[in-house]
Amino acid sequence: MSTFRTLRHAPVIALIALLVLPAIARADEPSDVLRDVWTRIQQIAPGQDPQAAKPRPQAVPSGADAPTIALRDLSHPISLEKSIRAAVATPAGQLRLTIPDGQARLGDFSIGSDQTMKGDLLVLKGTADVYGRLEGNLVSWNGDIVLHSGAVVAGDVLALDGQVRLEGGEVTGEVRTMSSPAAEQAPAVARSPLSQIVRSLAGTTGVFLTLMLAGFGLVLFGKSPLEVTSDTVRSSFSRAFIVGLLGQILVLPTFGMLVVGLILTVAGILLIPFVVIVFALLLIAGVVGGALAVAHAMGESITRRQMAQGRALSPNSYRYLLVGLACLFAPWVVWTLFGWVPVAGELMLGAAILISWLLASVGFGAALLSRGGLKEQFAGRFIPPEMLTDEFLWATPRYGVPAAKRPDGSTPRSGTRPPDGPR
C-alpha cells in the first residue's frame, strides 16, 4: 500500500525536482541571496568602516616563483586586469608579485613632493597619492589614483576598479579607468522556471485562440474554400509541400518582378502602394488559411478515425479545426512546459519550429494548388459534390468492409475512380 502511495506521489516529486533543480543549477552562486543579505547587514551595522578592510601599507615581495605582471604596455587593460585578479587570488600574507622594472605595493601608497621614483608602479587595494614625480606607468587595482598639484607621471596611468583624480598633476601619457564587470552588470530580469512556463503558455494560448477564432470565421464565411484546401492537403500532401516550398522561394522574386513591371509601365507606378498591400494580404491569407486547412485536414482524419472505432462524435468543421489546431500546437505546448530544460529545451523549440514550418509549407502549397480553395483539381474529388447524395453514399461504399462485401468483390483503390461512378 505504501509503495502504491509512493508511486502515486512520484509525479509530484518529479515536478518539484524539475522546477527546483534548474533554478539551483542556473544560479551563479547558490549563496547569492545570503551574501546579499550579509552585505546589507554589514552596510547598516554601526562601527563598520569600509576603510577598515584596507590592508596595512606594505611592499609586495617578489621572487623567482612569483607571478610576473608587466606594466610596460597599458593599452590592453582587460587582459592586464585578468592577470592581476589571478595573481592576487592567493591567501592573505602569501601574495607575491614580480613587476619588471618596477614594484608592487599593497594598501595606500604615496610619492612625496621631493621624491622621484623610477620604474612602473602597481598599487593594490589602496589609494595612490602622487605629489612628486614618477618615471614610469602607474596602475591601481581596487583603489584610486590622485595626482596632486605639482605631480608628474611620465607615463600612462590606469585605475582598475577605481578613479583617477587629476588635482593639478600632469600625465604625459594616457589616463585610463576601467570598472569591474560585477559592479556594472545590468539589472537582470529574474525569471524562475515557473514564471517562464506561465509566460510561454500565455503566448502559446494567445496564438492558439487567435488562430481558432480566425478558423471559426473561415468556417462561417468561407467553408467551401477551406474544405477544398483541406481536401487538397489530404489528397496531394507531397505535391502541396513541394509547391509550398517553391512558393516560399519565389515570393520575393515575384514581388520584385511585379513592382518592376509596374514601374516600367509608368502608369502602373500609381498602383504600387495598392499592389504592395494586396500582395501582403494575399500572402498572409495564403499562409494562415493554409495552416488552418492543414489543421482542418488533421482534425477531420482524427475525428473520422475515432468514429470508425465506434465513438459517437459530431463531424463538423468546427470540431475538425479545434482538434487539428490542438495537434498543431502540441509540440509548442511541450516546449512551453519543458523549454527551460537545458539543451532539451532548445531541441524541443527546434522541433516545434520545424514541424510548424513543414505543415505551414504544406498548407501554403495547398492554398496555391487550389487557388485559394477555388480549384478542386488536386482535392481528390472525383465525384461532383451534387452527386454525393445519401443514396449514392449508401449504395456505393468506396472503401472498407462494406466495399469488400460488394457482389462483384472489387474494392477500388484509394484515389481511383469508382467503376460505377459518374464520368
Binding site: P22, I24, P77, M178, E184, A186, P187
Partner: protein, 285 residues
C-alpha cells in the same frame, strides 16, 4: 494529490534563481592631456548605442567615456604619437553574435571629447548608433562621416577655426541631420545616401562658396539654405519629386537657379542625383 501539487507550486515560486542572461556592462574611460600636438588624424568608430561627441575642455587632447557590453564589444583608445594618429570608440568582438541593437538594461553609451587646439583629420564611422555630434569649435581640416543604420545629428554651433578641405557624408538607412554647414567652412560637401531622410542645413557664417555633390538612392533630401545665398542646382532625377521653392528652371531643363545667383555673396552650387524619393529646398530666414 492537491496538497503536494500546491507545495510544488509554492516551492517553484519561492525559487528565485535568475535565469536571464545579463549583459556585462563595464565602464571605461581614457583621457590624454594636451601636450602641444598640432595635427591629429582621428578616427572614431562606434558599433552601437548612443554617442555624444563634443569639444573637450581646455588642456585635454581627447577624452573618452564608455559604458559598453563587454561580451560583445571592446573599447578602443589607441594613440600613436609618432604618426600622430588617434582611434577612439568600440570594436565588435569576434564570435560575439554581432552588436545588440535593443537593450533591456542600461544601453551602451559613449561620450567623446576632442581637443580644440590640434587640427583634426576626422573620420567618424557609426554602426547601429544614435549619435549627437557637436563639432562646433573643433579644428577640422577634413571630415568624413559614415553612418549605418542610425539616427545622427551633426551640429556646427560655432565656426570651425580653420578651413576644411571637404566633408564626405555617407549614410545608409538613416535619419541624418547636419546643422550649420556654413560654420563648417568646408568648400566641398559630398553626400551619398541610401535610404532615409537627410537634411543638410547650410546655416551659419560662410567663408566662401560651397559645392555640394549629393547622390541619394531612395529617400528624402532636404536642403536648407539661407535666404541671402545664391543657389544653383543641377538635378538628375529618376522617378523622384523636386520642390524648387522659388528656383527658376534654366533652358536646359536640368538646372535651377535662384534670382541673383551670380552676384550673391554666398554661393551654393548643388549637383543632385536621385532615383526614388524627393528633393526639397527650404529657405532659412
Amino acid at each position: 494529490m492537491i496538497r503536494p501539487l500546491g507545495i510544488a507550486v509554492l516551492v517553484a515560486l519561492a525559487s528565485t534563481a535568475t535565469a536571464a542572461h545579463a549583459q556585462t556592462l563595464r565602464e571605461y574611460s581614457s583621457t590624454r592631456q594636451d601636450h602641444g600636438e598640432s595635427r591629429l588624424a582621428t578616427t572614431i568608430q562606434y558599433t552601437g548605442g548612443t554617442l555624444e561627441l563634443m569639444p573637450a575642455p581646455a588642456g585635454i587632447l581627447y577624452a573618452l567615456r564608455l559604458t559598453y557590453d563587454a561580451d560583445r564589444v571592446a573599447p578602443v583608445a589607441r594613440f600613436d604619437a609618432g604618426t600622430p594618429r588617434l582611434t577612439l570608440g568600440t570594436e565588435a568582438l569576434r564570435q560575439s553574435g554581432g552588436v545588440r541593437v535593443s537593450h533591456r538594461g542600461t544601453p551602451p553609451a559613449a561620450t567623446i571629447g576632442l581637443g580644440t587646439r590640434a587640427d583634426l583629420d576626422l573620420d567618424i564611422e557609426l554602426g547601429a548608433a544614435e549619435a549627437n555630434l557637436e563639432l562646433g569649435g573643433i579644428r577640422i581640416s577634413r571630415l568624413s562621416l559614415q553612418t549605418g543604420a542610425s539616427k545622427t545629428v551633426v551640429r556646427f554651433s560655432e565656426a570651425n577655426p580653420i578651413r576644411c578641405s571637404e566633408a564626405e557624408l555617407s549614410a545608409g538607412a538613416v535619419e541624418l541631420l547636419v546643422v550649420g554647414l556654413g560654420y563648417s567652412r568646408c568648400g566641398e560637401v559630398d553626400f551619398t545616401g541610401g535610404v532615409g531622410k537627410v537634411t543638410l542645413d547650410f546655416g551659419g557664417r560662410w567663408s566662401g562658396p560651397i559645392h555640394l555633390d549629393a547622390n541619394m538612392a531612395m529617400g528624402e533630401l532636404v536642403l536648407r539654405v539661407p535666404r541671402q545665398a545664391g543657389v544653383k542646382l543641377e538635378l538628375d532625377k529618376f522617378l523622384a519629386s523636386f520642390a524648387p521653392a522659388g528656383l527658376v528652371r534654366s533652358a536646359d531643363g536640368r538646372t535651377w537657379m535662384s534670382g541673383g545667383f551670380a552676384g550673391a555673396g554666398q554661393q551654393l552650387v548643388v549637383e543632385v542625383e536621385t532615383a526614388f524619393g524627393g528633393v526639397t529646398v527650404e529657405w532659412i530666414e
